[in-house]
Each structure stands twice: as C-alpha cells, then as structure tokens.
Symmetry: C2
Subunit: 311 residues, 2 copies
Amino acid sequence: MSILVVGSVAFDSIRTPSGAVDRCLGGAATHFALAASFFTQVRVLGVVGEDFTAEHEAIFHARGIDTNGIERVAGNCFHWTGEYRENLNEAHTLRTDLNVFEHFQPKIPDAYQDSEFLFLANIDPVLQHQVRRQMPRVRMVCGDTMNYWITGHQQGLARVLRDLDVLLINDGEAKLLGEEANLVRAAERIMRMGPKALIVKHGEYGATAFFGDHSFPGGVRNRFFRAPALPLAEVVDPTGAGDSFAGGFFGYLASQPEITPGQFKRAMFYGGVMGSFAVERFGTERMQALSREEIDQRFASFQELSHFDAE
Amino acid sequence: MSILVVGSVAFDSIRTPSGAVDRCLGGAATHFALAASFFTQVRVLGVVGEDFTAEHEAIFHARGIDTNGIERVAGNCFHWTGEYRENLNEAHTLRTDLNVFEHFQPKIPDAYQDSEFLFLANIDPVLQHQVRRQMPRVRMVCGDTMNYWITGHQQGLARVLRDLDVLLINDGEAKLLGEEANLVRAAERIMRMGPKALIVKHGEYGATAFFGDHSFPGGVRNRFFRAPALPLAEVVDPTGAGDSFAGGFFGYLASQPEITPGQFKRAMFYGGVMGSFAVERFGTERMQALSREEIDQRFASFQELSHFDAE
C-alpha cells in the first residue's frame, strides 16, 4: 500500500569525525522515502529549486519512488550545514538556508489521493496540518517534530498531535513536549495530546514504543515495546538516521495486509535496521547501494542481538 | 552453587527527587548479595564497624546470606553521602567516609574456599587481586570497577582484568577504560586486557554484553547481546541498581547446572529485572520485601517488552 510523505528534499553539508561532504542529497522526506521504498510504494510531496537536477531525481527513481509531488520553483533547495563532534548523538547546526522551502505550500497531486498511509516529516506544523486535512481517508498517520516547533509553535503542533496515530521523536524532544524528565510520565502526557502511540528514539540505544490505550490499530496490549540498536564500530554520518528509522518502521507496516501487535513490533526492528544502515556512509550513499537481502540479514542479527529462545 | 562476593558493606545517606534517607544499609556487596540471594547461596567478605548491628545483619540472614566473612572491627562502617538531581543517571558524591574500610585486609574463611563463583565488587584493585589469588579454583570470576581506579590505579587494575571472565561497568567507565568514544571499539580494547566478556550497563536503556572470542564459557557465538531495561514511571533511588543487576546476572548463572549462550542471555535479563526492583525504593527496602514470584512475573514482562514471536 502507498505511503505519502511530506517533508524536506534538501542538500546537506556535513562534517563528522569520519570526514566531510559538501551539498549531498538529504532532507527528511528523502531519507524517509529511500528507507520506506524497500518495503512499499512511496510518494513524495515537497519542493526543490533549480539545483535539484535529473541526477538527484534519479536517486529516487532508482528506488521506484514517485516524485510527481515534488514541486520545482526558482531558487535553490533547502540547505543544511552542520557538524557532529565526538558525541555523534548531537548535531551542531552551523547554518540553515531555507531557500525555496520558505514559501512551500503543499499541493497534493490527484494521483496521490488514494495513499493509505501518511508520514508527516519534521516541518512546520501548519503545513503538516494542511496536508493531513487534505487526506481525510488515510488509514494511518505518523508524524515527527523537533524542539523548534515544540517550544515556538505549540498551538499549531497541538492541532497536528490531536490527529496522529504514531508520533516518532527522540528522548530530548519527548521530555520537552511532555514537560517531564521521566520518560514514562512524559509519554503518558504526550499521548493525552492525541497520538495513540509514541515511539521515542534513543540513538545508539534503540527505541521504545509507548501505547496509550487499547484502541491502537492491532490492539497492542503491553504498555511498552523496546527495540535495540545494533552496536556499531563506526558511525560515519548520523544525519537521516531518525528518518530512516521512520521509513523502515512505517514502510514495513504499510506493506502488511493488517497491523497486528506482532507486526508493530517487527516494524520497530525494521526501523532499527534501516537506521543502522543509514549511518554507515554519508548522506544517501548507503541506501542507494542497499539490497533487500542485506536488510533481511540484518533483521536476523537484530533478533539474535536481543532474543533468546523460549525454554 | 555458592557465590563469594567481596566488597563494601556500608551506610548511605541519600537525597533524590523522591525524598531522602539517612544512614540506610548499603554498599556494593550488600546490594549484590541481596539480589543474588534469590537465585543461589551467597557468602559475603567485607568489614564493618560497631555501628553495624544485629538488626542490619538480620537483613542478610533473612535472605539466607552467609555473613561469617564480614569482619567486625572498632570504628564505624564506610559511609557514603550523595544525591541525585533531575538526571537520575548521575550520582553526586557529597562526602565519603572510608572509616573501617580504609584498612580492610580481606581474610577468606576456610568455609568459603569451596565457592565456585567469585564476584569482585567495586573496591581497590589490589584487594580484588588478593582475593582472586586466594581463590584459584573458582569456576567463574566477575568484577566491577569505577573511574577512580581506572584513572589512578591502572597497574593494579590491569592485574585484575587479566584474570576476569566478565567485567561489568557502565558506559562512561567503558569509554574511559578503553580510551575510545565508540563503545564497540572500547569494548574490543577492554577485552584485549583480559575479560572474556564485557557487560556495559546503560542505566535506563538496559545493558549490552560484548563477547571477545569463542572461548567464553558456553561458547556464545554472536558478538553482542542487548537486554532492555523496564521503562519506569518513578525511580526513587538509583543507588545499588548496578550491583543489583550484577547480583541478578551472576546469581542466575551460578544457579544453572551449566552456562550455555541461552543461559547467559537469560542472566542478562535477570540482571535487568533485579536492577528495576532495586530502584523502586530507598536502600535495600525493595529487596527485603521482594518475592521470587514477583521476579518471575517481571522476567516475563521483560520478555514481552522486547521479544516478538517467531513467524
């Protein structure tokens, strides 16, 4: 089944302890779409400038991703310049050039209307809400956000949260949004804002899903689920790891005939798998070279990493 | 089978966001022994002062712990005063009174000589080494240490590490000891110092076991294993969580007829279970009130928390 993702298609200039790249293809929608494309049909809604060439578009098409919803306008793509120092969990933004993204007004192509899954990547909650409203019949909506929107755009964000099935954010964002230092209590407060489930990403320690009540699709009954992250000897570039997690998670769910508790848990593991690949090289490099076979092998490693056989 | 633990039996004065206690029973050997006592016979080697009363000793005896190796001398017990602020992963030491611990010279009772498992809790590596040398026939040795010994007592620590089956430390200690910011590479360096396996505790994110080679008891073949921690809505007092983890882990292993890879993995889960109980109340309170049935129930929760059924 199809996923529609709305978010940034951008260029990133990144420095990490492993090296540096200048203006590589990036953006939340890009990372999400590439990861999800291994599981299901993906459609992208976004805006790019004249510096987005046929070569860049070919990266999407090589993975069968529908780019008809990427609007082209005069100017340059959104451009993020940042670095990671020894602590690879923390990005330092050196410069943000919104460029064509500044005046982005999402227009959903007619051919996208039958998308059954919707991912609202990390953009202005006002835009997230607009897209959500124009897709009233989707089966499941998943969203991301960040500190900037949590602290400065609370009203807009509240409207988006009310209508989400799953919110995917990291530890710091969850504690900020829930106004609570304890993650369990923060999660409970966040789910009272709307989301039926919350997935909190812990970087190198994996991710935890919190379930608010029994109305969640599939009727998950435990209150929590934890998926591990693979211990990695080298993280080349953490950019896009969270979006790749989201792509693996949501892509796998969208590929299933129905969403059971077991599928939700497996989806968390696929999220971890895709995040672990994303950080192995700069930008989209690893996703471009990835095969489904490698994904299945790593999924098996994740299971071995954290499961023991029943007695 | 019996475990001999050498370490501190102490009093702690602790302040946390949940409250405060003055001079409650604590110390690494105490927390370890109480947790391990739910699985196997435990013997304690340590030293106490005149402030250690029959009432304190009764806490050990109620759990069937052998206290014949606890020497009584003039003076007061080791006394730690500390606090935890909003970040419960970080202890702030306000005061350390070594008292009778300053001149501790471990003397192993004859009746302890047939102990098959040895746990070297976090004390001066010189003492850890002395005890290890006097127990040449133990089947398995597990040890702990901390930043203070890693930075200031490298030679003594190196001698202890050479002879360990399993070293249990936290993230920060592992990175300091391995002189590496990346945990996988730090673990590889540490295992080259001696330990056949390394367990790194991640606090609220669980723990990871690293296996150096195939010579590990039980022949564990994967390179890593990750056990989760239970998301807790309230952590009353983190003191002793790591020692309780060690007690659950090592106590379970010592209770098994043989150590298989599956048992090692289960032992990691029991470690997490005992750590999760320890933090629910101040000092040893929770362990004193705990039942084996509660342990088994929580073990099942840990499995549900992180496992999905095979297809």
